[in-house]
Subunit: 329 residues, 2 copies
């Protein structure tokens, strides 16, 4: 098995990416790696890390890469030799089995859809995010498709279920539809129509409409929604989490007594914060494609890159995509 | 001035409503009150409260009321004599100046739109909710209209600005558009179109697209969105707030040391929790109507009913509706 990694994508690329690949190499040494990016810069990183290029790592050199501000279409026309594009081409050609990038989400989604292409029968590929709860909840789409129809939501339920089943070992994943009420008639026309399709879909375990206030009670394993609502949901959880932890910190700094309390609370508080950290689950898979592509968080550090690589390995090994393709035949 | 209150609406009606009206009577004694509901039950509540009916409170008797499970249209046809309907009729006829109910949101929105009617030029009335931040943020619509067009969002920006200006004394309220990115081209077709209309609207102070993760940094005073997204946003904040406070409680109960710490933290923690309590701001006004209607939270206690009555008094006194009507002429 061989995994390609975009060495130039992410806020801390290439250093954290190269370091992350080295971590992965040490841990998963039966895998080959293809680092796509600037050879000289990658070598500089290795010097900083005080290590040689591991034997199972190959470098595919390019000094072109997409930035966060670039138009996503530049990968297709204008920056054809960028690291993201070259990695995806290798994936398409079957020279590698999965691709990982912490670069621009829009560019990765656009380019992977156009280059790697979708599973037959899947009308749109979705970016799936994990909400870190007692049991991880997969939410899709989390931002790639602001406007969808009922048919697309229904397909995502199948794709998402297969992913959760294989990756999180959930027997019959419960699928929920994000809605503004639990009743059947609630929501927009598209959502109402999706409800009926999901209810009649025998390939999934549909548990009905899910209100956002219930998310934290783990009411389902796969939460289906359009990319607009999904993006707002995922980012709100992120923003509110930061706000709450900051506010708690302020509470702990109120006076000398609370500061002493803070010492006693440090360990359980750190555990709570860690339980609530999505990066433990790696990155966001792009679901509905013919090959595994995983988006690592833009601000990934080396450990998060390593976790995303681990996820990509598992994504390939479990054969999820073949299973989805068969289910949709 | 006279305020009508639906004595039968809410999870703890009529007791908490009657108690709340008594609290309001004590505090705002220059106002007259009309309690609409079951006379015998209201009297029972007064007996329990060990007090007489205050002089400035009148009772309009009816033993019919809408439940949370009733179809909202029942207020219009089937339960014409329910407390909610009678109160709204009194408001329409000018016998009272504002109406407060903790009953079914759907029923209140439907009935108030059909009975009290909308301001000329306002195509849809919206339920506005307050997000309790350092500075309160008004979000509209929070659930009444899952599907809207750009024109409606633009009108809500005007209506919401007038409300925030008068009720929270904000000079030139900053209006934001909830979106899945900050760039002008982001979002659904409706949201993209709304962006252009808001940008060109000289009656408001438009500050651009707001991502949900930024909400807690108080980027605007009025956040405009459709009722589907608004509902999901408001309920997610509610649900996540509960989850976080419960998790912190668990952290504090970890061991003997954390339990001792909990004692030191009680006061600042309570303050943080209170700062984050939307009920301090009263209920959710239905904006765009010709008269003030305010929805109290379904689970309101007496103090929250009192706060919502206070809000209704201020809503009437500030003449917001006349100002909006003039702005839209």
């Amino acid at each position: 098995m061989k995994i390609a990694i975009d060495a130039m994508g992410g806020d801390y690329a290439p250093f954290e990416v190269v370091k992350g690949v080295c971590l992965a190499c040490d841990e998963f040494d039966n895998v080959d790696y293809l680092l796509v990016g600037d050879q000289a810069k990658i070598n500089d990183c290795l010097v900083q890390l005080n290590r040689e290029l591991p034997k199972n790592v190959e470098i595919l050199h390019t000094d072109v890469f997409v930035t966060m501000d670039d138009d996503p279409m530049l990968v297709m026309k204008g920056k054809e030799n960028c690291s993201m594009r070259l990695g995806l081409e290798k994936l398409k050609q079957g020279e590698v089995d999965a691709f990982v990038s912490a670069g621009s989400t829009g560019a990765l989604h656009t380019a992977s859809t156009l280059i790697v292409r979708r599973i037959k029968g899947v009308r749109r590929s979705a970016i799936a995010a994990v909400i870190p709860l007692k049991k991880p909840m997969l939410i899709l789409d989390s931002g790639a498709n602001p406007e969808v129809n009922a048919d697309i939501l229904n397909q995502w339920a199948v794709v998402g279920s297969a992913y959760v089943n294989q990756m999180f070992s959930v027997e019959s994943p419960r699928v929920g539809l994000l809605n503004n009420g639990t009743e059947e008639h609630k929501g927009t026309t598209v959502v109402q129509e999706a409800y009926q399709m999901l209810k009649n879909n025998e390939n999934i375990n549909f548990v009905g409409n899910i209100e956002s206030k219930e998310i934290f009670n783990c009411p389902c394993d796969v939460l289906v929604t359009d990319g607009f609502t999904g993006n707002i949901t995922v980012k709100l959880i992120e923003g509110m989490g930061k706000f709450m932890f900051k506010s708690i910190k302020n509470v702990l700094y109120t006076n000398i007594f609370t500061k002493i309390s803070a010492i006693c609370l440090k360990k359980p508080m750190m555990k709570f914060k860690k339980d609530f950290d999505a990066s433990e689950y790696g990155g966001a898979p792009i679901l509905g494609l013919l090959k595994p592509v995983v988006k690592a968080h833009g601000s990934s550090n080396a450990y998060e890159i390593r976790s995303t690589i681990k996820q990509a390995i598992q994504f390939h090994e479990t054969g999820i995509i073949e299973k989805v393709a068969n289910a949709l035949k």
